[in-house]
């Protein structure tokens, strides 16, 4: 429990990227938590705990029964998901963050998971391990997502 509590930021990040609505975020958070709890006995320490946690969290988010609603159409931005507690960002940073969030919201479920792992500084090896595709394919996909994000962010400006 302690290790999950200490790494709960991972769950929050996954919930934030997949859900716009507070209620959906809470539901998904609970669902991920339940899956982690249930799956923990099968964690064989072959991978890092955080990698395993990302795997369970992303699997749950992508295969969640409510995802049809989550993925349907453009996910609107909620002010709360962009809140920064202190040290308010500059206007330019805030704008960039807004653009990034809006662009990410328009990606597909798989693209969201890959970009999230990339933004979280995960190696291609770890991304491949989590998604079940080879590192080469992760690279191919990453290049496509980067291009797509650039286009989306430019079009939003």
């Amino acid at each position: 429990m302690e290790i999950v509590r200490a790494n709960q930021g991972i769950i929050h990040k996954v919930c934030n990227i997949y859900c716009d609505d507070e209620e959906d975020r809470n539901d998904l958070f609970q669902e991920i938590l339940a899956q982690l709890w249930k799956s923990y006995p099968s964690f064989r320490k072959e991978s890092k705990f955080t990698t395993w946690m990302y795997r369970v969290a992303l699997n749950t988010a992508i295969t969640s029964f409510k995802k049809v609603r989550r993925f349907s159409g453009f996910t609107r931005l909620s002010g709360e998901s962009l809140l920064v507690a202190d040290d308010p960002p500059s206007a330019e940073t805030e704008e960039n963050l807004m653009l990034l969030k809006q662009a990410v919201a328009r990606l597909s479920g798989i693209e969201k998971s890959i970009i999230l792992l990339f933004l979280e500084n995960k190696s291609y090896e770890e991304i491949a391990e989590i998604t079940g595709i080879t590192q080469n394919y992760v690279r191919v996909k990453m290049n496509r997502i980067k291009k797509k994000l650039r286009i989306l962010m430019t079009s939003e400006e």
Binding site: M1, V4, R5, Q8, G9, H12, K13, N16, F29, Q30, E31, L33, A34, Q35, K38, S39, S42, F43, W52, R55, V56, N59, I62, T63, F65, K67, V68, F71, S81, L82, L83, V84, A85, D86, D87, P89, T93, N96, L97, L99, L100, K101, S108, G109, I110, S113, F118, L119, E120, I130, T131, G132, I133, T134, N136, Y137, V140, K146, L149, M153
Partner: protein
Amino acid sequence: MDLNDLQKAWNKLTDKSSGQRMLSEEEILSMLGRRTTTLLDRLDRNVRIGFLVLLAVVVTLLGGELLPLAGIFPGETLAGEIPGWLQRLDLGVSLLIVALFITFFVHYRKIRNICRQGCDLRHTLLKIIGVLTLYRRLFTFALAIILLESATGFTAGFFTSIHQNNTLEGFFIPTLGMGLLLILLLSGFLFFMLRWAFRKVYGNYLHQLRATLAELDELEEQGE
């Protein structure tokens, strides 16, 4: 904005926003206590219940085939009144049901062994799609049992009635045809109703999972 800047911006965004909602151990435990079973758990439970029901049907069918009626009700035997071809057909239907049941069970075990908890996304998708597909097929299977057993039971009963009463002479073909038509209509109605209900509840979900898996597969195919 460069992608490295994006990473920095992302970290700043997520670290601080998630930091606001860090839950205590008590809150997490309370959340876990309130949690009900997930969709996959429920599906898995339903499939198991389905298997138990089917197993009961199979045992009943086999019992019916293996235990002679005369052994249970001395003096009562219908064997002579039902044509041999119908008895063989009935046995064939029962064997078919048993064979289908075994096939489903083996398939189910295979799906369950695709991966354990915490496997990668691709295998998780394969597993859920597999369980859902199996669940849908179980519906069809159950319907096939109703159809086949109703048809053979009705025909056997029909022959017995003719033999005992001789009341249907001259109406044999129209009455048999009408009875079979009614069974077909009833089974057809059940089939479309179950299919509609399944699609209504799981159709979009299954479609979405397949699309997600196809997205992963498309990537693999293009990379080759």
